[in-house]
Symmetry: C2
Subunit: 337 residues, 2 copies
DNA sequence: TTTATTTACGAAACCGTTTTCGTATAATTC
DNA sequence: GAATTATACGAAAACGGTTTCGTAAATAAA
């Protein structure tokens, strides 16, 4: 109720506040005997130090901020899992913030971080983010920031990503090899760096295989599942020759399945489908979905490790390296054998 | 770099520290003219107050702790989404902790909360949790705790849950009506309150429909997907007459599909399946999975609202009410028409 | 005009740690 | 035995806000 403080421990043991503090932090200045007395009392009275007092004084919080577009998404959920595994191991706390793909929210959150609330930030940018002023401002204040998956190219910092270009290239080529001539590319954004890379992979794979890149085959959706669904249906109805789809986003896979079911287009006979996706249920969909599976857990874990390592250094200098953890193309029945 | 403080603002404007503080918090003690001068400078210099200094003095943190077993799970991901929506609205920060179903971790986390790190806690207990000493200790220190979904009955506090008993009853009855005679009940735990309720719903539905409850039809798994899979396969092989399965956990649905595919048991012809699940992909599984869908987002949102409301009160008295938000049985093709 | 009351602000204590620096005593060196 | 160096601890100043309380000036009431 009335919280237990170091001062009270000090009085109880007839020692000074500073001695208690040092004893608890196992300082060499304190004798073993005293340390033991202190620890026994701490144990007995169940003393837990006030983290805010400590943070205030030490100017750090042992907290990292995680900023992501959303959490109901296998990729981000798995990434959080990876982040948390490192945080727990290294004694960091994890504050979660969702931007819901809003640039404004992203700015507000990062602005708050300038307060020193977090020691460092892990983030995947929103779909709307084209500028990095808010990130630069934050980093200038000495708060290191590490990107994972969705990066902003113009910001110089560590970036943990997957091989988006190559994966999309491979996937597209796979579709081509299986006989597709008219392949749609579906995404939520033409802004996001990962989307552009995936798009380029798609384009170059087409060209390398003697196919034409057609703007009408490149579709951008809004993440409004009903509208997206209608939009896709319309597209599929109007261009009958479509025989392949590469979806850049997990959620669009569902939209595709819905639309195809509705239009009585059978997968993979009429249309072959590949999606970037971390769905655990991919192999039990009807038909099983060929996916590009991102190493989400690893990405989160690596990003957190990089950040924590930087936080361990005196000057928080973040390495500016880009770490690429490759995705894997998992072939299932939504593409032909 | 060297952080901006109220003291520096004060010097700049020739005002006192207390005046600045009050102006920022829009105190009635400060004239509009002064407030404006202060706000302009705050704006110009980009001042952001140090939350730890503030938390220390005010003895609150505007932070809630969320303790869940895992995050890679549609239910919990959606619940976090609900929680975050309220937190964002009310200006709270969200600290996330994963127990990975470990009672020890749960205790460690709650112990840490005794420090005052969070103003309140939202939690779903681990599968191993049978005792609530750590929760009581926390609540005794004045930190309100609200359960959602997975509660510990013995603890008196708000609980936001779904109608587990009724849902399982309904689901079981549905299977019986569709002709099932030998229905398995699958879960991860016989400890968890929700599991017991679901089990009771299952049992009573059987009895009410003139069927026998057989212990051998009640299976408990370990969340070790490989072993679970083998265990289930063995069971299905040995008891050929099994014609229905009710899975208490989303993850087990996948296990069931795997096992049935492997054993060439067709769903729903040979075996009908219903699972508690929030999978967005449920309707695109092969076959589409009949589910009991929990209102995860709503549960998270309601729990957060309750907590925040309690935090708004001077004494943090938490209402001891139990709020039940019903699940819905969504019939799909894994059960017969 | 005198007294009472607002109004607008400042001084200083306080929140609970950490850390620097000083010092008495004990141990060591010469 | 004197001088030096460890050892073990305490006093006090931070950290950056918030809050209480006091007060001078301005306004209202008498």
């Amino acid at each position: 109720m009335n919280k237990l403080t170091i001062k009270m421990l000090a009085k109880e043991l007839g020692l000074s506040v500073s001695t208690i503090s040092k004893a608890i932090r196992d300082s060499h200045e304190i004798s073993d005997k005293t340390k033991q007395r202190v620890n026994e009392l701490v144990e007995k009275l169940n003393y837990v130090p006030n983290p805010y007092a400590s943070s205030l004084r030490r100017r750090n919080s042992k907290t990292i901020g995680v900023v992501i577009p959303e959490v109901v998404d296998s990729f981000f959920a798995q990434a959080i899992n990876g982040i948390e595994s490192i945080a727990q191991e290294k004694g960091y706390h994890v504050l979660i913030y969702l931007t819901h793909e809003s640039f404004e929210k992203e700015k507000t959150i990062l602005k708050d971080f300038e307060s020193g609330r977090v020691d460092g930030v892990l983030m995947s940018v929103s779909r709307e983010t084209t500028q990095g002023g808010h990130m630069e401002a934050l980093m200038k204040k000495g708060v290191p920031l590490v990107f994972f998956d969705r990066v902003l190219d113009e910001i110089e910092t560590s970036k943990i990503i997957t091989n988006d270009y190559e994966s999309a290239y491979l996937a597209t080529e796979h579709l081509v090899k299986k006989g597709c001539k008219q392949i749609l590319f579906l995404s939520f954004s033409n802004i996001l760096s990962i989307s552009r890379k995936r798009l380029n992979g798609y384009k170059n794979a087409l060209l390398a295989n003697g196919l034409e890149v057609m703007e009408k085959n490149i579709l951008t959706f809004n993440n409004d599942s009903k509208r997206d669904y209608l939009l896709l249906k319309k597209k599929l109805r109007s261009s009958k020759r479509t025989d392949g789809i590469l979806a850049s986003v997990e959620k669009l896979a569902i939209t595709i399945y819905q639309a195809c079911e509705d239009l009585r287009l059978s997968i993979p006979e009429d249309i072959q489908v590949i999606s970037f996706s971390n769905l655990e249920t991919a192999s039990f969909l009807n038909p099983p979905l060929t996916t590009i599976a991102q190493p989400a857990f690893e990405i989160g874990k690596t990003a957190a490790s990089m950040l924590v390592k930087a936080l361990g250094r005196k000057k928080f200098e973040i390495q500016k390296e880009e770490i690429i953890i490759p995705s894997t193309l998992v072939m299932r029945k939504s593409t032909r054998v």
